[in-house]
């Protein structure tokens, strides 16, 4: 290891808000390093009290600039804010250009902010495998608001819902007609819509379409998704956007929906972790375990079909427990 790395970051350093330890701990999580597991196990009991707000939407709609404006707004209210901004990894080289930091313009002396760029490293859905745990580390380090920016999203990139308690879907004028808003996926997960670049013509008609969508009764559990016009030139609509986010958080508390949503997210996380491990073990095993290799041979020679092979594998695993 190189750079600043000397010794594993400790839970005490994280809780004390040591920025270098925090940064190294996030890397450890990204790299699946053993010290990350120990650290997260130790910190978990005291996390979960800070809301995580997600920002998603197509590329180029201004998510980074909007977050930068929100950070300024929140710092004006003396809130300690952390940002995790995810950009895609190349499926070819594995490399990545993480460019969200360009929009981040807090003074270097501001200790109340922490900004971390993160590559998706092959994860689908718009966030990285490490994003949730990075948010937990930032929570443990005492940040009061955690903002997560997804990869520029397509229609089905909705993994932010598994991390954030409020998801803001950021759009711009002229993305399409109102039928687009009826399509499944991205539009369904919005707890708040932001129509950004609202200084451009067409903003009002975009807002009307989205308000109509909300009025169709698509709102979950009685929440009617608000639509906020924003622009980072000026800027305008920033306090209104934050108020809409806070209103959704208050709704979660008032309606009693928060614990159920949190349980759903945690269940999904646990299942995902088990799946990842089983996946890795089996994929390894099909190459290295002689019994598995023989099974694969028999599937390849059409003596056993893949469904039966899968059932045999599952039974064998249960017996070995």
């Amino acid at each position: 290891m190189t750079g600043t790395r000397r010794g594993a970051p400790t839970a005490r350093q994280i809780r004390a808000g040591d920025r270098r330890a925090l940064a190294r701990a996030i890397s450890a999580v990204e790299n699946g390093a053993p010290e990350a597991d120990a650290l997260l196990k130790e910190l978990y009991p005291t996390t979960g009290r800070v809301r995580v707000v997600g920002f998603t939407g197509p590329l180029g709609v201004g998510k980074s600039s909007l977050i930068n404006a929100l950070v300024a707004h929140l710092r004006g209210r003396d809130r300690r804010v952390a940002v995790v901004a995810v950009d895609p990894s190349s499926p070819f080289s594995g490399g990545s250009v993480l460019g969200d930091r360009i929009r981040f313009d807090r003074p270097a002396s501001d200790e109340g902010v922490f900004f971390r760029s993160m590559a998706s490293r092959g994860a689908a859905g718009g966030v990285a495998a490490a994003t949730r745990d990075a948010a937990r580390l930032l929570d443990a380090a005492g940040f009061e608001e955690i903002l997560v920016e997804t990869v520029g999203s397509g229609q089905v990139d909705i993994a932010i819902r598994d991390i954030a308690s409020t998801s803001v879907v950021v759009l711009v004028p002229h993305l399409g007609d109102e039928v687009q808003t009826l399509k499944a996926g991205l539009f369904e997960i919005a707890d708040v819509f932001a129509v950004n670049k609202s200084d451009l013509p067409g903003a009002d008609s975009a807002r009307r379409d989205l308000v109509e969508l909300a009025a169709l009764g698509g709102g979950r559990d009685g929440w009617r998704t608000p639509v906020v016009l924003t622009s980072t030139l000026g800027p305008t609509g920033i306090p209104e956007l934050w108020d809409a986010i806070v209103a959704h958080e208050a709704f979660l508390d008032r309606s009693g929906g928060r614990p159920a949503a949190e349980r759903r997210r945690l269940a999904k996380e646990i299942v995902g972790r088990v799946r990842d491990r089983v996946d890795a073990e089996l994929t390894d095993g099909l190459e290295s375990d002689p019994a598995l290799r023989r099974l694969l041979d028999r599937v390849a020679s059409r003596d056993v079909d893949p469904r039966t092979a899968a059932e045999q594998l599952l039974r064998a695993r249960r017996r070995s427990r």
Binding site: D37, G95, V97, L98, R101, A108, D276
Partner: protein, 138 residues
């Protein structure tokens, strides 16, 4: 326990200190490093030494690349190195590119800039150097 990745990608910060008007060279280098499999945190134009060092710490990078055209390198580069030391991040190697006269380059190398590339440098050479600096034992 989580699934272990085979090899953690190198994280590198590319930033332009000072008041340069464009960042084409830095973008070309950023892209070449991306294609070599690195995670490039691109901080862009008009960064102060304080902002650069802060970004290096928060992003936990293995390497910093500074690009400069304005001629202010003799003031800005040593400042970055000094601030890194102050933040206990002096072990992060720093390389540089831009319009830097030979005599200045010699002095900057002595001050701790690990490699300096001029306008004629090949991307291959830059990538290889970056890899060597980030992972000396790899």
């Amino acid at each position: 326990m989580t699934v272990r990745s085979k090899k953690a990608p190198v994280r590198v910060l590319i930033a332009k200190p000072g008041l340069d008007g464009h960042d084409r060279g830095a973008k070309v280098v950023a892209r070449a490093l991306r294609d070599a499999g690195m995670e490039v945190v691109y901080a862009g134009l008009r960064q102060t030494p304080e902002e650069i060092v802060r970004a290096a710490v928060e992003e936990d990078v293995d390497l910093i690349g500074l690009s400069i055209l304005s001629g202010a390198h003799m003031a800005l580069f040593p400042k970055v190195l000094a601030l890194l030391k102050k933040e206990k991040a002096g072990r992060i190697p720093v390389f540089a590119g831009g319009i830097i006269p030979d005599e200045d380059a010699r002095r900057l190398r002595k001050a701790g800039i690990r490699a300096i590339f001029g306008p004629g440098a090949s991307l291959d050479e830059i990538v290889r150097t970056a890899q060597r600096l980030a992972r000396p034992r790899a």
